[in-house]
Symmetry: C2
Subunit: 383 residues, 2 copies
C-alpha cells in the first residue's frame, strides 16, 4: 500500500526566521510541542515511531491527534516511521518524544539518522542504572552509548502536561543542556506567550528532579485514592480510570477526576517553593523546614480559605470585588503577603537582597498593598 | 441571662493517663483539635473568644460546631469567654486557637490567666514585623511581649485543615518548641492513628515555613482562577465562593470547587519534597533544581498518568488489579520507582545511606518490586 503524501496543507505562517523542527514520536508530549513550534512559524514535521502508525494516519486524516481535543495548527506535516529520513532532512532541531520505554530505540534507530551537529531536545524523563548501579539521566545514558561520538543532547523538565500545552495554559519549564548558546537557540524556537522556558546547564539536577517526581507522584496519588476510599467509596474513581484507559482524557474523565487544568498552578507552585526557600534562607538562616512549608502550601491551595481569594483574583476580579464576595471570611493570607512584601521592599532598599529574586510574591504585594491589578509575572521566573 | 451549664454529658472514656486540655478560641482549627484530644481520653474544654459567643452556644446545644459536618466526641465541654478562668483551672495543656488577628488579644487577655508552668500550643500561623522591620514568628513575638516572664510557647505547622482532621483523614504535622521533653509530652496527648506529629526545636524554621505558605498559597490559587477563566468561565466559581462565605464548606461548595480531601495527599507531598531533596543531594550532589521537581510533581499528581495507578493502589486495589484496569496506558512511574528503590537498597547495603531516610518511596518499592500490599508509612515520617 503506498504511503499517503506527507504534506497536508500549505504553510500559512511567514516567520522572520523559520526553522525546521522534526519531532520523533507522536505520543502526547511530542505531539503537543508541535503547537508552540508551529505557532512560532517554523516548519514542523511530526514523525510516528513504528508503534504510532494509527496515530499518524489519524493526524493526516483529521489534522488532530486522537488524544487531543483540538486541531493542530495548520501546516504541521505528519510522517510515518518509514519516512523519517525525509522528515529529518534539513532539520534545525530534533525533538525526541519517546517514552522511557523507547530510550534504547531512540539511541539505536533515531540518532544514526540525525547529523551530529543537529541539536536534540528530549522530553523523556527518567533515570537508568549503569553497570555499577549509578543512576544516569537519559542524556548522559545516550552520551555513553554513542561515545566517542558527541552530540548536543538537551532535555525538558518542569510542569507541563500535553493536553494543557495544547490548550495554551501558561506554564514554565526548564530546558537543560551543556551549551548555553544552544539552549538559547532552542528556547527562541519554542518560547511563546504561554510556554515560558528557563535554561540551565545543570542537566543532572533537572533530569534527576523530574525523574524523581514521577516516582513520588505515585505516592501522592496513593493518598488521593486513600481519601477517596475513606470518604467517597471506590466505584466512581475506578469507573473514571476504565474510561481513561479506553478513551484518554474525556470530559467524563475530567468530571469524575477533577475539573481543573494544572500546568499553570504547578508552575506557580514550583516558583513558590523556590521563593519560599530563598525567604527561609534569608529570614531563618537555613531551609531545613522547607518540606513542612511545601506540604502546608499544598493543603492550603486546596483546602484553605486563601484559595477563595486567590482564585477570585485570578478570575480577574479586583481585590475589592473579591472581598465583597467573601464578606465575613477570615483572610489571613492578606496579612502575611502585606508583611512579607513590605519587609522585602525595605530589605531590598537596604541592599540586603534583590527583589527580582521574589517576583511572584512581589506581584501580589502590588495587588494588596498598592491596589494594582496584576498578572502572574511568568517572564520574570525565567530571567 | 444565666450562662448554660458547661458540662453537657458524662465523659465516656477511661484513659490511662487522662490530662486536662483547654482550648482557647473556638474557630475551626482550635475546635478540630478537640477531636484527637478527646478521643485520646483527655478532659477537653473548648473556650470561645468574645467573638465566638454564638459558636459556643451552638456547640452546647447540638454538640456540633456550626462549620463541621459531624458531632464532637462525647464529653467535650464548652465554655463562654466569661468562664475562661474555670476552664483553665488545672489545665495540663492550653491550646491557643486564635487567628492572626487575635495575636495581641491572646497575649493580653489569655496568657495572664494561664500559670507560667503550663505549656501552650498555638495553631496561629504568621509573621509580624518588630520595630526594626525584622519578621518575628508568633511564639517569638509573645516571648518578647511578656518578657522577662518565661513560658513554654509551642506551635503547630504542617498540612492540616480542620474539617479533614474532624473527618479523621491521615496527616502529618510538626510541633515546634524550645524543649524536646515538653514537645514529647504534648505529642503524647494529641497523637492518634490519623494525626501524626513530628517534633522539632527549630521554631523559627517551622513557623517561617508555614507563614510563607499562606502567602504563596494566594499566588497558586490565583493560577487556579486564571485557568478557570481561560477554560470554564467565571460564574461557577464565583457562585461557589458566595456559598462558602454564607455557609462554609457544604457539599455544594465541594462539588463546585473540588471533590477531594487534601490533608493526606499534602502530607505525602511534603514527605516527597523531603525525600526528593535528599535524593538530589545524594545523586546529583546539590539540590538546586528542587523547585523544578516540585512543580513537576504537582502537575503529575493531577495531570499525569501516574495519578491513575497511584489512586487505584490507594483505593486498596492490588498492583495486578490496577494494571488490568489501566490496560494499554503507559505507566512510566513504575519504572522509575523500581529503579530508585533498587538503587537505594544497594546504596543502603553498601552503607552509603540509610534507607530509613526514604520510608515513602521504599514502601512503594515493596509494592512494585516485591508484590506486597502497603500502607503509607506515616509513623516513619515522624521518627
Amino acid at each position: 500500500m503506498p504511503l499517503e503524501p506527507a504534506r497536508r496543507t500549505p504553510e500559512p505562517f511567514a516567520p522572520m526566521n523559520p526553522s525546521v523542527i522534526t519531532i520523533i514520536g507522536s505520543g502526547m508530549m511530542g505531539s503537543a510541542l508541535a503547537f508552540p513550534a508551529r505557532e512560532n512559524g517554523h516548519s514542523v514535521r511530526l514523525v510516528g515511531t513504528p508503534l504510532d502508525r494509527d496515530i499518524i494516519a489519524a493526524c493526516r486524516q483529521s489534522n488532530r491527534h486522537p488524544k487531543f481535543d483540538r486541531d493542530f495548527p495548520e501546516g504541521v506535516r505528519f510522517f510515518q516511521w518509514e519516512e523519517a529520513q525525509t522528515a529529518l532532512d534539513g532539520a534545525d532541531l530534533v525533538i525526541g518524544g519517546v517514552s522511557s520505554f523507547g530510550v534504547d530505540w531512540f539511541a539505536d534507530a533515531v540518532l544514526p539518522l540525525v547529523p551530529e551537529t543537529t541539536p536534540i531536545l528530549s522530553v523523556t524523563k527518567g533515570l537508568i542504572a549503569d553497570a555499577s548501579g549509578n543512576l544516569l539521566n537519559y542524556p548522559e545514558y545516550w552520551k555513553r552509548k554513542i561515545a566517542p561520538a558527541k552530540r548536543s543532547l538537551n532535555a525538558v523538565g518542569g510542569p507541563c502536561t500535553s493536553y494543557e500545552l495544547v490548550a495554551h495554559d501558561p506554564t514554565v519549564v526548564s530546558f537543560c543542556g551543556d551549551d548555553p548558546a544552544v539552549l538559547d537557540r532552542i528556547r527562541s524556537l519554542l518560547q511563546t506567550g504561554y510556554y515560558h522556558i528557563e535554561t540551565t546547564t545543570d542537566v543532572a539536577g533537572v533530569e534527576c528532579a523530574v525523574a524523581l517526581k514521577n516516582a513520588y507522584a505515585l505516592t501522592v496519588a496513593f493518598a488521593v485514592g486513600l481519601n477517596e476510599k475513606l470518604n467517597n467509596g471506590r466505584e466512581r474513581i475506578i469507573a473514571a480510570m476504565r474510561s481513561y484507559a479506553a478513551n484518554g482524557v474525556t470530559p467524563e474523565f475530567r468530571a469524575a477526576f477533577g475539573p481543573q487544568h494544572y500546568n499553570s498552578q504547578a508552575a506557580v507552585f514550583g516558583q513558590s517553593a523556590r521563593e519560599m526557600r530563598r525567604l527561609l534562607q534569608f529570614i531563618v538562616g537555613n531551609d531545613n523546614q522547607l518540606h513542612v512549608g511545601i506540604g502546608d502550601l499544598y493543603v492550603t491551595v486546596f483546602g484553605g480559605r486563601t484559595q477563595l481569594l486567590g482564585c477570585l483574583l485570578g478570575l480577574g476580579l479586583t481585590y475589592d470585588e473579591a472581598l465583597k464576595i467573601l464578606s465575613g471570611v477570615t483572610l489571613e493570607s492578606t496579612v502575611i503577603v502585606t508583611r512579607i512584601v513590605t519587609a522585602l521592599r525595605s530589605w531590598a532598599a537596604a541592599g540586603k537582597l534583590d527583589l527580582a529574586d521574589f517576583p511572584l510574591i512581589a506581584a501580589f504585594g502590588d495587588i494588596l498593598i498598592d491596589g494594582k491589578t496584576t498578572q502572574i509575572p511568568w517572564s520574570q521566573f525565567v530571567r
